[in-house]
């Protein structure tokens, strides 16, 4: 299994798309969380200037994961499996002898490891931006507790993992990348976005929206200090609630990861590689 994972890491590591997605996500994440709010007027931020200072880095950054980060993770997940169909490389891998299950598991593990970078880099960039703002504003540089930072990064990883697992499933289902990415973004924007927006006025939608990746991701983010008011005005990734209990959200996201992965594994094992 170790060598399978190392093979998959080589595939991901040498792929330009991995680095491009990581770079754009990091840049956009920091830009949206720090540069734009500071350029507009830091006092307009839901929590004021304090939201942009190091002490708020955990909540401020993690609020970008449930939608914007999720879309990047979704694309990464689609690439991890969908491209194999496009290039016809699954047959090349399978005839070498590893079981389909072990190839799939190795791909998931490698993807999970790459997602660590998708968490660490935006956090590093965000932390650096918050220090710069603190210095410009002559504010104190107080960091959140290591425990809160660790929980925020863990939550960020879990949110990205859920979206990446959805990407993997879509890649396997559609046996490609284009349709999978299209469907994934359609789901993120239209299904989750629109239904969540209407949930306040259409009562029967509310229970449905509570199981969405968006609702559960943002619920974890708010539990870690992300301002709900900021999430409400988060553009296409906005969410006005209702938020669910953070433990419930955690369980739902883990369940999504497992369910998406299990369904994708089932399809990969059952279907012909033609």
């Amino acid at each position: 299994m170790r060598s399978n994972v190392s093979a998959e890491l080589l595939i991901l590591r040498k792929r330009a798309a991995t680095w491009i997605l990581l770079g754009i996500w990091t840049f956009l994440g920091v830009f949206a969380a720090y540069v734009i709010p500071y350029a507009l007027d830091p006092q307009d931020a839901p929590l004021g200037l304090v939201e942009l200072l190091p002490e708020s880095v955990a909540g401020n950054l993690v609020s970008g994961f449930p939608f914007f980060g999720g879309v990047f993770a979704l694309i990464l997940g689609v690439f991890a499996l969908g491209s194999e169909y496009g290039w016809d490389t699954l047959k090349t891998l399978f005839v070498q002898g590893p079981s389909r299950g072990s190839v799939f598991a190795a791909k998931l593990v490698a993807l999970g490891l790459v997602l660590v970078a998708f968490v660490l880099l935006p956090f590093a960039g965000g932390a650096a931006a918050s220090v710069v703002i603190a210095q410009i504003e002559d504010a104190a540089i107080d960091w959140p507790s290591a425990w809160l930072l660790a929980r925020a990064m863990g939550a960020g990883w879990l949110i990205l993992a859920a979206w990446a697992a959805l990407g993997v499933l879509l890649g396997v289902m559609t046996r490609g990348t284009s349709l999978a990415i299209g469907l994934g973004i359609l789901y993120a924007l239209v299904v989750e976005g629109l239904l969540s927006a209407f949930a306040e006025s259409v009562s029967f939608l509310e229970p449905l929206t509570q199981v969405f990746l968006r609702a559960n991701g943002y619920s974890i983010a708010t539990a870690l200090g992300a301002p709900a008011a900021g999430i409400e005005s988060n553009g296409p990734g906005s969410f006005g609630g209702p938020f669910v209990d953070s433990v419930q959200a955690l369980v739902v996201l883990v369940a999504f990861v497992l369910a998406f992965a299990a369904l994708a594994a089932f399809l990969l094992r059952r279907r012909d590689v033609a």
């Binding site: 060598s3 093979a7 040498k14 891998l93 002898g97």
Partner: protein, 311 residues
């Protein structure tokens, strides 16, 4: 649903019984195929495009599940790890990660196969790709990709090689090299199942040949067996009289007329006697020669719809 078989007879590396693959109700890609590949031979799997060759090979390596029938490859069910570890396969067009170099592609495969990466430079050298091994595989010509595909198949130093159209995209020199290479692999004790629609390739390399049409084997044997016994061709005037005289001779099994020639099923040693008989009867003989059917003739006869049937 495939039924798993008991181990095949000792000398059969591949054995299938009534192996069938259907796509829906209308398409039967492989129809009750019975294939036996003996240990140490190069078995040429010959058939026109769409005859079911690649689907058969995909079933043998577990990429495609048979609809029904039985198969055993190296004593294991198709796709079983125990079997695949001893099989090197290149199915259809070789497929690689385009952004990885040839070497890195093989490193990925070696890691998945659990093979020591020291095999990578060795197989690259074997197929003559060492100098381009660090280039991205997307920049490779078709022929180079074929070579890389063969290198991937050799990574595990396999007992059985399954090669699907390995000379596709190669220039004539490359094709000849590949044929020699395949032959050398077999001479080293490996079994090779070689699929192709190129008769020359199969004829020059294979110990035995199976001809597939509409998903079923319609003939099987050595090239010589498939080509059949040599006969005589005679051009003579008047042809009807020549045919009557030859047909009356002892040992002549059949006389047929085609394209102004008489095709005579007879021992070729009878050529002089036939010539003498015709000349003595006043028939003008302009040509008389021995001819064996080419594999192409046999192939066309077997694989055209109104052609031959079983062997």
């Amino acid at each position: 649903m495939i039924a798993q078989t008991a181990a095949p007879a000792d000398d059969h590396v591949i054995s299938t019984q009534a192996l069938t693959k259907r796509y829906g109700d209308a398409i039967v890609a492989v129809d009750a195929l019975a294939l036996r590949v003996r240990r140490g031979e190069v078995y040429g799997f010959l058939g026109p495009n769409g005859a079911g060759k690649t689907t058969t090979l995909r079933m043998l390596v577990g990429l495609v599940r048979p609809t029904s029938g039985q198969a055993t490859v190296l004593g294991a069910p198709p796709g079983a790890r125990a079997g695949l570890r001893r099989i090197g396969a290149m199915i259809e067009q070789p497929a690689f990660y385009p952004y990885l170099s040839g070497r890195d592609n093989l490193r990925v495969l070696a890691r998945h196969a659990g093979v020591d990466e020291t095999r990578v430079p060795a197989v690259l050298d074997q197929v003559g790709l060492s100098t381009r091994s660090t280039d991205r595989s997307a920049t490779y010509s078709m022929g180079m990709k074929q070579r890389l595909g063969v290198a991937a198949a050799l990574l595990k130093d396999p007992e059985l090689l399954i090669l699907d159209e390995p000379t596709n995209g190669l220039d004539p020199g490359g094709m000849a090299e590949m044929r020699d290479f395949i032959r050398s692999l077999a001479d080293g004790g490996r079994t090779v199942l070689l699929s192709s629609h190129l008769m020359g390739e199969i004829e020059q390399v294979s110990d035995r040949v199976g001809v597939i049409r509409d998903g079923a084997i319609v003939a099987e044997g050595t090239v010589a067996e498939l080509r059949g016994r040599a006969g005589l061709r005679v051009r003579a005037e008047p042809q009807a009289e020549a045919a009557r005289l030859i047909g009356a001779l002892p040992d002549v099994e059949a006389v047929t007329s085609r394209d102004g020639l008489l095709e005579i099923a007879v021992d070729t040693a009878q050529a002089a006697a036939i010539n003498r008989t015709l000349v003595h009867a006043g028939v003008a003989v302009s040509e008389i020669y021995a001819q064996t059917a080419s594999l192409e003739d046999v192939f066309l006869e077997l694989t055209t719809k109104d052609g031959g049937g079983g062997s």
